[in-house]
Symmetry: C2
Subunit: 231 residues, 2 copies
DNA sequence: AGAATAGTGTCTTTGAGACACTATACC
DNA sequence: GGTATAGTGTCTCAAAGACACTATTCT
C-alpha cells in the first residue's frame, strides 16, 4: 500500500451544476444560497459531495444533485470541465467536476415552488449574473456560458430549453435570443430541415388569430445534434 | 464537520495523459507498462496521483506527470474529460482527469532514450492501439482520438505535432494524414493565410533538389487557433 | 534541358443571405 | 377584406473546390 491510500492525501471531490432554463428575461441559471461555511450566505452553483456509497459514477452524482435541487430527472446533461487546486476551497485541495444541464420549459413550469428552498433562477446579463459567487463559481459559470453560446451556432441546443412541443418560429426566436442577432427565416428553416433533429407532431398545430403553425419535437431529447456548418 | 470530512468517504483522484506525437507510421500515443497491481504488466496511459502537497492545481499535476514521463515541459496541453465511477479501479471509487498533450517532433527527437523506462510510442491504427489497456484507458484513448480528429477540421492542431519550423507542404501533409483524405493545395494555403496562426521564419528555407520552400512557425505554440469554417 | 516541388491565378459550382411572394387562419 | 403569422420560391453574391499555370532550385 502506498502513502496515497492514506486518505489525508486525497483531494476533496464535488460535482457542481450549471442548470439553465429560459425565463421571460431570457437565459437563466439556477443558484442556491449556501447555508454553511465556507462562503455561508453567498450564492453558488448547486453541487455536492460525491457519495461513494450511493453514486455509481460521476454522471449519476450529477443527476442526483439535479434531482435534489429541481426534481427533474432526465434533462440534457453534459460534462463541462473539471477544476482543481489547492486554493479554491479553504478546507483543502479540492476538485470540482462541473456539468451543464438544460431544462425544458415544461420541467420548469411543473416544478414551480417544488424547488429546494433558497434556490432561485437568475437571468444572465452579459458576462454573468451580476453577483459575486462562492468559490470559483463565477469563473465556472462564465465557462459554461461560453460553451453554451458557442454551441448555439452549430447544434440543436436551443431546442432543449423549449417546451417539448414547439413551432419553428418559437425555435428561431430562442436561437436569436441566445445568439443576440436576427436570423433569416428562410435560411433558418432550410438549416433545420437539413440538420434533421426535429420531427413534426402529427396533427398538432399552434392556433392563434393567424395561420396555424406545425408543432415539432426533438427526435432525441437527451442529446445534441450538431450541424455541418455554422448558422 | 460532516461525515465527508472523514477521508474514507473520498474518492481516489488521478491525472492521466494521452500524449501524442507523429512517428513515421503516423499519429502515435505514449503508453507505459504498469509495474504494480492492479493491471500489473498491462499497458496504460501515463498518469499518477494528485500530489496535494506538490501540485498547485490540476494542470500543474498534468505537467508534472508529463515531465516525469517525457522530460518535456511546455507542450500543447488541454483537458479532455473526467471519468469517475465505483468500478473503474478495483481499489475503490476513483476519478481520472484526462489531459491531451501534443508533442512537437523536435521534443520527441531530443528525448530519444531519455524517456522513462517501460514507456513506448504506439502508432494509432483506426480505433486505437490494438492492445487492451488497463482500467478504462482504451475508452479514454478513444475519446481523445475523437477530440483530436474533430479538431483537425477547424484548428491549428496539426501544427503542434511538427518540428518548430516547417513548410506549408509539410503542414498540409499532416492535415491529410490526420484527416485521412487529400486536400487541395491552393485552397489549403488560402485557409492558412486567413486563419493567421503562422508566421514565416525570415530567411529560413527548406532546400532540396527543387525550388526552396519558405519555412513557418506557429505564432503561439501553447494554444490552438480555430478556423471560422471547416476545412 | 529535365525533374521536382513551391507557389499563384482562374473558372466553375455551391451554398448562404436578402427579400419577396404565397398560404391560411381569425376577426 | 384586413391583419397577422406560417411557410416557400427566387435572385444575387461570395466562398470553396478543381485544375492549370508559372517559378525556382538542383542535377
Amino acid at each position: 500500500m502506498t502513502s496515497h491510500d492514506n486518505d489525508a492525501f486525497k483531494p476533496i471531490a464535488t460535482v457542481d451544476l450549471a442548470i439553465f432554463s429560459l425565463s421571460p428575461a431570457g437565459l437563466s441559471v439556477l443558484l442556491v444560497r449556501r447555508a454553511n461555511a465556507p462562503f455561508s450566505g453567498d450564492w453558488a452553483l448547486p453541487g455536492g459531495w460525491i457519495h461513494i456509497d450511493e453514486d455509481a459514477d460521476l454522471e449519476a452524482a450529477a443527476r442526483r444533485v439535479l434531482k435534489e435541487k429541481t426534481g427533474v430527472e432526465t434533462p440534457y446533461l453534459e460534462q463541462l470541465q473539471t477544476t482543481g487546486s489547492r486554493t479554491r476551497d479553504p478546507r483543502g485541495w479540492s476538485i470540482s467536476i462541473v456539468y451543464i444541464a438544460l431544462l425544458s420549459a415544461d420541467d420548469v413550469a411543473e416544478r414551480q415552488g417544488g424547488m429546494a428552498g433558497e434556490a432561485e433562477w437568475r437571468p444572465i446579463g452579459g458576462e454573468g449574473v451580476g453577483l459575486s459567487l462562492a468559490f470559483d463559481h463565477a469563473a465556472l459559470l462564465k465557462e459554461a456560458l461560453g460553451r453554451i453560446r458557442s454551441k448555439v451556432e452549430y447544434s440543436s441546443l436551443p431546442g432543449h430549453l423549449l417546451p417539448v412541443h414547439f413551432t419553428l418560429s418559437e425555435l428561431q426566436s430562442v436561437y436569436e435570443t441566445l445568439l443576440g442577432r436576427k436570423l433569416d427565416k428562410s435560411a433558418f428553416r432550410k438549416r433545420m430541415a437539413e440538420a434533421d433533429f426535429l420531427e413534426p407532431v402529427e396533427g398538432e398545430m399552434r392556433r392563434a388569430s393567424n395561420r396555424p403553425a406545425q408543432m415539432f419535437r426533438l427526435k432525441d431529447a437527451q442529446s445534441l445534434a450538431l450541424f455541418d456548418r455554422t448558422l
